[in-house]
Symmetry: none
Subunit: 235 residues, 2 copies
């Protein structure tokens, strides 16, 4: 089953050749990835901070700072350490592949490469790592939702939730202090295409509340009559 709450993957491509960037972007966007382009390390840096990509495609040879140096600098910083890197190199020798990897790249690709190959590598890498899981813990009061452990707990006790309740809570904790109509909840948690009765949301809200009930005294999941539901730490 497809995980509904997952955002589209963002891939940052850093290459000084515009043609390469365009080719990659075209290939990736048709595969459902979101593409970020940078022609040099400096632009890459700011995109990196603003957009937090899930993966980086990095040219080995760039004017100015080399891909290798850039990769190495990424590995030094805590917040970028875990982002998978695929190195792009025009050279073919074994030697170069190894140097590419040495800098901390997870994989490499030799130009010219086919888009199929590129996509295959990206997917393979994402399959192994499960993507770049940043900000893994959501918190509201004493309620914790750990995405990487896929676990919800409160005051030390684990709260057992079914898959839908988990996704529901995650959605709300990611978007607190905001009302969502049943339709919006369905679109966000169930997915756009699936059709289920709107009332179904009520039932799952109920199940979620029931699971949280023993721990939270303030009603975190609130009913907004005529509008929908809201997750809020305030009454």
């Amino acid at each position: 089953m497809t995980e509904q709450l997952q955002t589209t993957r963002r891939v940052l491509i850093v290459d000084d050749e515009r043609a390469i960037r365009e080719m990659v972007c075209l290939a990736l966007s048709s595969e459902g990835f979101r593409c970020l382009e940078a022609s040099d390390a400096h632009k890459a840096g700011s995109l990196l901070r603003e957009q937090r990509p899930d993966m980086i495609l990095l040219d080995w040879m760039m004017p100015g700072i080399s891909g290798v140096d850039f990769a190495r600098s990424l590995r030094r910083k805590e917040e970028t350490r875990d982002i998978p890197i695929i190195m792009l190199t025009a050279k073919v020798e074994e030697e170069d592949m190894i140097r590419g990897l040495e800098s901390g790249a997870d994989d490499y690709l030799t130009k010219p490469f086919s888009t199929r190959e590129l996509v295959a590598r990206i997917n393979s890498l994402l399959r192994r790592t499960g993507g770049h899981a940043e900000n893994t813990v959501l918190q509201a009061g004493s309620l914790h939702l750990d995405m990487s452990a896929h676990r919800v707990s409160c005051q030390g006790s684990v709260i057992d939730l079914g898959p839908t309740e988990y996704k529901l809570l995650r959605f709300f904790m990611e978007n607190p202090e905001r009302v969502y109509s049943r339709e919006q909840v369905l679109n966000n948690v169930w997915g756009d295409h699936v059709y289920v009765e709107e009332r179904t949301v009520d039932v799952h809200i109920r199940r979620l509340r029931k699971a949280l009930e023993p721990f939270e005294h303030d009603q975190l999941v609130q009913t907004v009559r005529g509008a929908g539901y809201r997750f809020s730490a305030f009454r």
Copy 2:
């Protein structure tokens, strides 16, 4: 985690391929390690005496003396006995890994490996051993997995595991408190390329649980419905 004050670690890399040595050196120096290179066992021997490295990366196949023999000879001498060794091997068979470990290696890595993997293993080993030591043991409650002995035990009793169950447990103990989908487990434990049914994971999980069952009362290997499996000390 406790951050410890530590001097620069010295890592000796013994490999006849210059490219490999360079890759490793670059990767490690960017991680703050000091790197010592040797292309053969003889040079390794003198570096070993002069520099007293904290860890050795050893090629399995070298012209002249083999990595296995070299490792064994290190284990015989008092002053080198306690230096952790990671064996580098191009082979993939289980058998080879075991032979590598029997010679006294604490861990092994199959070429080609990514530098992230290498750095992760080194850090993991150093964390466990505190720099120099013989206990390369993963621990969860009373459950012990000794990598250097390739043995799992609990409360003094040895737990007999098949190769796959061992790798599975090791993977989980190295990555606890985190859910892995069946696909991710396959990619990490079986390997990226092999294709086996996802449900195969279930069966091996079952076998692993069965083997652990007599010893652990808390379910260490937990099912996360709709998401995968998780190894955790908490309920």
